[in-house]
């Protein structure tokens, strides 16, 4: 036997209480990881937006269009190396196989030049460019719509009435993990030439602009906006990240709130463990008195208590990380991504699991510190008198 034997036996002295505490810690770690994964996944996709890319939209609202000729002016701005444009098509699956998909009507010649995050087979791309009603689908979207290259696809639109029939010309795959895999890319010309879009003829939704030097993005943004200052339709140019965040203004507040909730979860973890440790210490005060009487020092007593608290916290933390790995990274994450929609990737990174374990360790120290100090400072005679 050694001192660790005593510490280890103490840990499972109240087996049920210790196990429930560990489960509670594991669940808080899981919830913490889940919340942070939501934030990391969302912020990650925004952060992962190309640094050297700007987005330019109507100054008043995203829903208002800009004249097509603006793209020529933007391409002429100093520092711009490439620009493309797109309109929101409001695509929806009439058979409701997917709850949400992005449908973009894009300039066939420049869209994939600027949007480097999408990878398309050159032959498929050439075929698409030559096919006015051709579409290129994200790989997950194609799978969900049970379609493939060469097949016909019927899609409806929230904006433009009636059925729209397309030919699937290609499938794109993502070049970075945050790239959306649920997008349908169609020809801007097809939309522009359709009578159902008579009201929006020769007008574009927004422009994506590649710049030469990402450190000059603010300067180039201003230069673009300045160009249209005197026009009826003024632009608002921003980084692609801001543009992406703009889609979810209200959601951003919810995400902020989630961040606070995750901190609250940690406090709950401290309270749960502190309560368990305090109960154990109270029950064993007399025993600590005996140990002190036979020669153990206050430091020994504090180490026993602190060690037990840290062990319980770490065991709970490890269980929580294991649950995170199994439930988020191997079950819910892939399912969410496959389902398509909001998350282009949903994966708890290793560093976050490490952080959760580190937090569990710190929680163990915090929860055990006060009872450990209090017990170690008790007079031996007082401790021996205590029978709870």
């Amino acid at each position: 036997m050694n001192l660790a034997t005593y510490a280890r036996r103490n840990m499972f002295r109240r087996r049920g209480r210790t196990i429930w505490t560990m489960i509670a810690i594991a669940l808080t770690v899981l919830i913490f990881c889940l919340i942070r994964t939501v934030l990391v996944s969302w912020e990650g996709s925004a952060e992962d937006a190309a640094q050297d890319r700007l987005a330019s939209r109507h100054k008043v609202s995203f829903t208002m269009n800009l004249p097509l000729k603006y793209i020529t002016d933007v391409r002429a701005v100093d520092g711009v190396v490439g620009a493309t444009y797109a309109n929101w098509f409001g695509a929806k699956d009439p058979l409701k196989r997917v709850p949400f998909m992005a449908g973009l009507a894009v300039d066939k010649d420049s869209f994939f030049e600027v949007s480097k995050e999408f990878s398309v087979d050159p032959a498929q791309l050439a075929d698409w460019k030559a096919t006015k009603n051709g579409v290129i689908l994200g790989d997950i979207l194609a799978e969900k719509l049970e379609t493939g290259v060469g097949k016909t696809l019927k899609i409806e639109s929230d904006i433009y009435p009636g059925d729209w029939e397309f030919k699937v010309a290609g499938i794109y795959t993502p070049n970075r993990k945050t790239a959306d895999r649920m997008t349908m890319v169609m020809h801007w010309d097809m939309l522009n030439d359709d009578p159902r879009n008579a009201w929006g003829k020769d007008r574009l939704g927004w422009m994506l602009v590649n710049i030469k030097d990402s450190t000059r993005s603010a300067e180039v943004s201003k230069a673009i906006d300045r160009k249209f200052d005197e026009m009826d339709d003024q632009t608002l140019t921003m980084s692609e990240r801001q543009f992406a965040l703009g889609f979810v203004g209200a959601l951003a507040a919810v995400l902020d709130a989630l961040g606070y909730v995750s901190v609250g979860i940690l406090l709950i973890m401290v309270l749960i463990l502190a309560n368990t440790v305090a109960m154990s210490v109270r029950e064993r005060t007399n025993e600590y008195g005996v140990l002190r009487a036979i020669g153990f020092t206050p430091r020994h007593v504090a180490t026993f208590i602190l060690g037990e608290s840290i062990l319980v916290a770490l065991a709970g933390g490890l269980l929580g990380v294991l649950l995170t790995f199994l439930l988020i990274n191997n079950l819910a994450g892939p399912a969410l991504v496959k389902q398509g929609g909001f998350f282009t990737f949903f994966h708890t990174p290793g560093w976050l699991m490490g952080l959760a374990l580190l937090i569990a360790l710190i929680v163990g120290v915090f929860a055990g510190l006060f009872p450990a100090l209090r017990a170690s400072r008790l007079r031996v005679t007082d401790a021996l008198r205590r029978v709870d």
């Binding site: 036997m1 025993e287 005996v290 002190r292 009487a293 020669g295």
Partner: protein, 224 residues
């Protein structure tokens, strides 16, 4: 006559209830010869346990000097006192105070964990101590698997495993039936006679007191 192993001179001990002082021991002098077996009796609140705690280095007097086994306890720090206790004093408590998650052998081994003895040596000492108390066949039993008398004998084995000079016992038979109490007292007599341990026992029980060589009476903080 053997020399004193415990010498107390002019001991005062005052506790405070709020601001009101309570004088538990007053100007108390005591000499306990080495190898004696002494019983300290007295009414509740007379200061018996306080005196025992001072002798055992668990408590400090408000004034006076305490010399036990040649060491002046009043000059020691808490950590020095802890080390001194582990080497000099064996404790026997009324309610046994065994650690429930440890076996009898592990309970007896506890004080040895503070020494530099290796595992084999500790095991040997534990076996010897349990043999002395007649429980070598209960080594692997947990306290809950032992009777009260057996638990107290394990506690006595824990008290002697470090080969201390003095054993202090606070009501060692208080929680036992008559038969078990007799067994424990017989064991303490044996430790005193055969192993030469000095035993200082606080008790309410006249039968237990009668087994000691010297009986002392404490009342209102003074020895009668």
């Amino acid at each position: 006559m053997a020399g004193s192993i415990v010498t107390l001179k002019g001991i005062d001990k005052t506790f405070y209830r709020g601001k009101e002082p309570i004088h538990v021991l007053e100007k108390l002098d005591l000499d306990v010869p080495e190898g004696s077996f002494e019983a300290l009796m007295g009414p509740s609140g007379s200061g018996k346990s306080t005196l025992l705690n001072i002798i055992a280095g668990l408590d400090r007097p408000s004034s006076g000097t305490v010399t036990v086994g040649g060491a002046d306890l009043t000059k020691m720090s808490d950590n020095q006192l802890a080390k001194w206790r582990s080497q000099t004093i064996g404790f026997v408590f009324q309610s046994f105070n065994l650690i429930p998650v440890l076996t009898a052998a592990q309970n007896v081994e506890l004080p040895l964990l503070l020494t530099s003895l290796n595992g084999a040596e500790r095991k040997k000492r534990v076996a010897t101590a349990l043999r002395v108390v007649g429980l070598e066949d209960r080594m692997d039993h947990y306290p809950r698997q032992l009777s009260g008398g057996q638990e107290q004998r394990v506690a006595i084995a824990r008290a002697i495993v470090n080969d201390p000079k003095i054993i202090v016992a606070d009501e060692p038979t208080g929680d036992l039936d008559r038969k078990s109490a007799d067994d424990v007292l017989t064991l303490m007599e044996k430790l005193n006679k055969e192993l030469g341990k000095t035993i200082f026992m606080v008790t309410h029980d006249p039968a237990a007191s009668g087994r000691a060589k010297v009986q002392r009476m404490l009342d209102k903080g003074a020895l009668q």
